[in-house]
Subunit: 307 residues, 2 copies
Amino acid sequence: MSSIAVGSRAFDSITTPSGRAENVLGGSVTHFSLAASYFTQVRIVAVVGEDFTSEHEAVFKKRGIDTRGIEHAKGKTFHWAGHYLENLNEAKTDVTELNVFESFKPQIPVEYRDSKFLFLGNIHPTLQTAVRHELKDVRLTGGDTMNYWIQGFRNDLVETLKLVNILLINDGEVKMLAAETNLPRAAQKVLAMGPQALVIKHGEYGATIFFRDGAFGIGRHPFRAPTLPIDEVKDPTGAGDSFAGGFMGYIASQETLNREVLKRALFYGGVMGSFAVECFGTERLQSLTDGEIEERFQIFRELTHLD
Amino acid sequence: MSSIAVGSRAFDSITTPSGRAENVLGGSVTHFSLAASYFTQVRIVAVVGEDFTSEHEAVFKKRGIDTRGIEHAKGKTFHWAGHYLENLNEAKTDVTELNVFESFKPQIPVEYRDSKFLFLGNIHPTLQTAVRHELKDVRLTGGDTMNYWIQGFRNDLVETLKLVNILLINDGEVKMLAAETNLPRAAQKVLAMGPQALVIKHGEYGATIFFRDGAFGIGRHPFRAPTLPIDEVKDPTGAGDSFAGGFMGYIASQETLNREVLKRALFYGGVMGSFAVECFGTERLQSLTDGEIEERFQIFRELTHLD
């Protein structure tokens, strides 16, 4: 069923120990939509500037992604430049030019209004809230956020969280949001703010999904998925959004939502994240095959499977 | 089959956010032997001082642990005092009084010489090497080490590693030993130094076992086991040695060594580590039942199991 993703679209300039890429396609909906496109029909809502050409748009159309929700504004596309040192878990920002993204007000095309799954990428929580209110037919909402909103716009974010079914967030963010250093306790505090489930991403150690008691009728035992130990992470940018794309895309592709679906979704999230980091930008996510995804899913499964 | 463990024995004074414990039983062979005793017959080699009473020894005898290798020396037992702040992964040492441990030369009782499994706890690598050479019948040697030996006694440690089949080590240590920040690459470098397998402990994120190509005839795909998200880690001291005890103890309890045994051993390592941190000192490890261990093993399995 159709999924809609709202978030940032950017051109990224990235330096890592493996090399450098200039002005490659980036932003949360970019990685999310490409990753999710292997599982479900994706519609995107974002804003771009005049430097975003039909050639750029073709990357998404080629993956069957609905780009009618891309607003073309006067000016330049959001530009982010950053680098990673040996610790690939932490991006150092060199340049943030918001450009047309600064005044982004998501406009939902009429044709998108029957979407059943919604992913709220990492944008201002009041924009996330407004989008969710506008989409009446949505069955399941996934959301992302970051330190910046947790620290500076906490009250707005708390309102958003009441509308989010599954929040995807990393270790540091969940601890900050809950003001609690113990991970499972932090998870329970955030679940009490609204979400039925919380996906906590642990970087190279995988991810854990925590459930609110009785959520989705499946009890509260957490579940953990690994990531693949990777010899060379070329570029970690977008790994989290690619994870979200695999996770939400797989859920949208299934007829029902139960514990087994959520478990597999967590694995598919890890699978798509592991592909994303193999190349700079979105290069790897543009050219996958279903066979490659299934093969890697099996590797992930074998990584923790006891007979 | 009988396992022999060589290492430190101590009295620990520990402060954590959950409270404080004074002069509780500690040291690497203490946690290791108690954890392993639920799986196999364990013999220990260590040194204690005059403050180590028959009451202390009774804790081990009650678990069927062979204490004939405990040397009683003049003076006081090794004493460690430390504390943990909110980050429970890092112990801050307040007091280290080596006492009788300073001149520890492991003496292997004649009755121990037919042992088939050996665990070399975290002691000077030249002592580890000497013990391994003395035990001719050993089939499998597991070893531990720490930053202190890696930085200051690297050449000695490199010699020890040639004699160790499975090295158990944490993320920071393996990266330091390999001088390499990427985990799988660091693992391969350390495997090239001698061990056939490497168990890397990730603290609250579980552990991964990496294999040298062709090791144990089972190929080189890594395997990962989770840990349980725990609401309150009361005292992390000894978690690594308890992990090693579950891991090595389970291996020693099995007739053959294959991939499935090593996978389960990794899970049992996590299980015993998760019990260890629930109480101060060795309190929890002294009073477990087989039923509790099996129940937790199933919880660990469910935590990552896809149908």
